[in-house]
C-alpha cells in the first residue's frame, strides 16, 4: 500500500476552505452548521456515557445482592423475581446480564 504523506499547508488550506464554507452557509441560510454538528456529536457522546453508567450500575446492583455460597441459578432467579415483581425493565436487564454471564461461563 502506498504510504500517505501529511501536508501541513494542505491541512491549513483545507481548514480555511472549511471555515469559509461555514461562514458562507451561516451568512446565507442563518444556520450555524458547525455548532449544530458539535452539539449533535456532544449529545450523542452524552447518551453513550449515561447508558454506560446505567449499565455499570445495573451490574453493581446484581453483584450487591446477598447471594449465599450454596445458592444456585434458580434460587437467585427466584429472589430477583420477588424483588422486581413490579420493575419489568430492570428484571429484563438482570436476566440479560445473567444469561450473558452463563454463556461466558459455558464458553
Amino acid at each position: 500500500m502506498e504510504k500517505r504523506e501529511l501536508s501541513f499547508p494542505g491541512a491549513l488550506v483545507g481548514a480555511l476552505i472549511g471555515l469559509g464554507a461555514e461562514i458562507a452557509i451561516s451568512e446565507l441560510t442563518g444556520i450555524d452548521l458547525i455548532t449544530g454538528i458539535l452539539e449533535i456529536i456532544g449529545a450523542g457522546f452524552g447518551l453513550i456515557r449515561i447508558d454506560r453508567r446505567i449499565y455499570e450500575s445495573t451490574v453493581k446492583l446484581l453483584k450487591g445482592m446477598d447471594v449465599e455460597p450454596d445458592d444456585d441459578y434458580q434460587n437467585v432467579l427466584r429472589r430477583i423475581d420477588t424483588l422486581t415483581i413490579d420493575l419489568p425493565e430492570l428484571r429484563q436487564s438482570f436476566l440479560k446480564l445473567m444469561e450473558a454471564g452463563l454463556r461466558a461461563k459455558k464458553a
Binding site: G46, I50, I54, S57, K60
Partner: protein, 140 residues
C-alpha cells in the same frame, strides 16, 4: 486555575439550590442519582428523582434508574430484616439465660443485652426509613 478554584468554591453552595429548581438537564440528575446509589444514599437519590422532570429523550433512562433505586432499597430492607431477626434471636437467648441469680453470671449478658437492644432500635429505624423511601419511590 483561578476560575476553576472559584467555580469549585461556588459549586457546592449553588448546587443544591440549582438542583432544587429541577431545571437542570435530566442526565445531570441521573448521574447524581447513580452516584448516590453507589454510596447507598437512598434518601438523596429519592430527593433528586423527585426533583428531576425527565425530558422526553431521557424518560426511559430515568424510569430505569428509578427502578434501580427501588431495587437497592428492597435489597437493603431485606438485609436489615435479616439482621433484626438475628438480633431478636440473640436477645431472646440472653433473656432466657436471665434466670441465673449470680451477679457475675448476669453482668456480661446484661451489658450485651443493652447493646443488642440499641442495635435493634437502630436497625428498626433504618428499616422504617427505607420503607418510607420505597413508598415515595413507588409514587414518583
Amino acid at each position: 486555575m483561578g476560575l476553576g478554584a472559584l467555580f469549585r468554591i461556588l459549586k457546592r453552595p449553588l448546587r443544591k439550590t440549582l438542583e432544587q429548581t429541577g431545571s437542570l438537564p435530566t442526565r445531570y440528575y441521573l448521574r447524581r442519582i447513580l452516584e448516590s446509589l453507589d454510596r447507598d444514599n437512598i434518601g438523596e437519590a429519592v430527593r433528586l428523582l423527585s426533583v428531576s422532570r425527565g425530558a422526553l429523550v431521557d424518560r426511559s433512562r430515568r424510569e430505569l434508574v428509578r427502578q434501580q433505586v427501588l431495587f437497592r432499597c428492597r435489597v437493603l430492607m431485606k438485609r436489615h430484616d435479616r439482621r433484626i431477626r438475628s438480633i431478636e434471636g440473640r436477645i431472646e437467648t440472653l433473656n432466657r439465660g436471665g434466670r441465673f441469680p449470680w451477679r457475675w453470671f448476669r453482668k456480661i449478658p446484661a451489658e450485651r443485652l443493652v447493646r443488642y437492644e440499641n442495635l435493634l432500635s437502630l436497625e428498626k429505624q433504618a428499616q422504617s426509613l427505607l420503607e418510607k423511601y420505597e413508598r415515595e419511590l413507588r409514587n414518583i
